[in-house]
């Protein structure tokens, strides 16, 4: 196994015991299982030494969630992307996840924090089973860097791509169901000028029967958002002010090709966290995520 590689295999042993028959990793990647037999799901923390990736670190993680197994992948703190030290260096993180029938996956990491002059590429691919019975909730988010040091989108290049595939048929290639990707590149006029004052961008991608309630609740919540530029004639209150009251978090939810996609952004990371937490707990009884994985799955939002 080469540096930065890792393998996770999650299995359900009938009748109801979850196990990790495979959990291997190589420096600079570190995987820690914090699963206890009584927990609702298997939890694995994806860690890196020093809480981040230095120039030329390449992480390559392969994950298999077997039939009806339930896996929750988390991090402990934001993933810092340090400055590129040499021009030919690549700092990358790739993850390939294979989900089998009725598998359930939550990937709820802390945000990626690309520092000034960093170059980073992240590619996450999710292969859904042919019967389309797997469920997943994936969070991908990025912050502007070390705000306290006056860094605001001073990274050199940042690419994050999430792709979801489903088999077309026997012996055929897979069909791309959803691709959500962000390309941030520093250029002459400055990346900062294109970020519109936002300090964090988050995307939530939800699919499958286990999260149907959450999906529905999120779409409804978006539908019920106050209208922009409208006026509520009952109490003469101008709705324009509502966005400022919420602390400048703006969001949108949409349903496409079997997925529910939520995008949100804000001026303050903390506000976005609070709002994300609220969103993920949408639905009955604190929502599908807490029911399937327990409160611990929302660790990155505390």
């Amino acid at each position: 196994m080469t540096a930065g590689q890792g393998h996770i295999r999650a299995r359900l042993l009938p009748p109801a015991r979850l196990s990790l028959p495979q959990l291997t990793f190589q420096y600079p990647l570190k995987l820690i299982s914090s699963s206890v037999p009584s927990s609702k799901c298997l939890t694995v923390f994806i860690l890196s030494y020093g809480g981040g990736l230095v120039s030329n670190d390449q992480v390559d993680l392969k994950v298999v969630v077997e039939d009806a197994a339930k896996l929750c992948l988390l991090t402990q703190g934001s993933t810092k992307i340090f400055k590129r030290k040499a021009f030919e260096h690549l700092t990358t993180q790739s993850m390939a996840v294979h989900l089998q029938s009725n598998a359930v996956l939550a990937l709820l990491p802390d945000p990626i924090q690309p520092f000034k002059d960093s170059v980073y590429k992240q590619h996450q691919v999710f292969h859904l089973p042919a019967d389309d019975t797997a469920s997943l909730v994936v969070l991908d988010w990025v912050s502007e860097g070390r705000s306290a040091r006056g860094e605001h989108w001073d990274l050199t290049s940042f690419v994050s791509r999430n792709e979801f595939f489903i088999p077309k048929g026997e012996g055929e290639s897979e069909r791309l169901m959803l691709r959500d990707s962000m390309i941030l590149t520093q250029d002459a006029e400055g990346l900062r000028s294109r970020m519109d004052g936002f300090t964090v961008f988050a995307t939530l991608m939800i699919h499958g029967p286990r999260f149907a309630g959450l999906s529905e609740a999120l779409l409804q919540k978006f539908k019920d958002e106050p209208r922009i530029g409208g006026r509520n004639f009952d109490n003469r209150r101008d709705f324009k002010n509502d966005t400022t009251k919420k602390g400048g978090v703006i969001w949108t939810a949409t349903s496409m090709r079997g997925f529910v996609l939520v995008k949100l952004s804000g001026k303050e990371l903390e506000e976005v966290k609070i709002f994300l937490r609220e969103l993920l707990k949408s639905g009955e009884d604190e929502g599908d995520v807490v029911r399937e994985f327990g409160e611990g799955a929302l660790l990155c939002l505390q």
Partner: protein, 286 residues
Amino acid sequence: MISWRREEEGCLVVHQLSPSTAKQPDLRFASAHPASRFPKYLQPSQSPPSMIPYALLLLSDSALPLGSFAFSSSLESYAAHHRTLTPNRTDIITTFLHLSLHSTSTSILPFLYAAYRAPARAADLDDELDASTPCAVARRASTSQGRALLAVFEKSLYHLSAGVEGAREWVRTYKTGGGGGGGGGGGHFGVAWGLVCRALGVSEEDAAEVFVVNHCKAVLSAGVRLGLLGPYQAQAVLAMPETRREIEMALERGRALSVDEVGQSVPALDLYQGRHELLYSRVFNS
């Protein structure tokens, strides 16, 4: 028969601008030389009068019936979110134009080039572009104009493709969603544009450039109708060397990316575009 997949994304589907495409293309004039229907003195002369391909003049017309006037490419929502913050309304539109060009270059242009280069694969590319456009409002705006462009091609420009071998077959394959893909031929604007330009014998560079210039025109025209700037100002913005330079940079960026590498380079635009549905009053469909 051709049947367009209806998008029911839990939102209002805007259909008034999508012409009915249920009819087969009109082939009446396709077989004979089109000029034969005109009196002799109206028949085209043998020597080309201009270096600009005629099809290109038609495609660059803002009156091309694509219904583009109904879309603001999220300018309306952007302006609504910035009205109180930016006192100068013209600043809103120049900033927005810059953002919009940047975003288009990394998300749509690679598909235009790809469809132009591999017109037989247009249906697959369309499905991939559909999967790569994670914003319902943008998807509707794109398919509405793309389908309208295909209708204009079949109803009005069909005979211009007579000299391009395979052109009609490409369009037919695209519309039926063939080519081995799982797609149903969604008719996204970028793919349809690349395909139609190829079918009309327009060069690749011209096809991409006219697409981007048309995009600028549409944004500025929407700006005029939103009262953000006057018609003379709009023309002046379009004529500015900075705008010209930005268009060139957009083309350059679009050419450099493969369709696997597309993505949103201005993430805030996805949010504004998505929040267009929340505007209390709306002039545009996007």
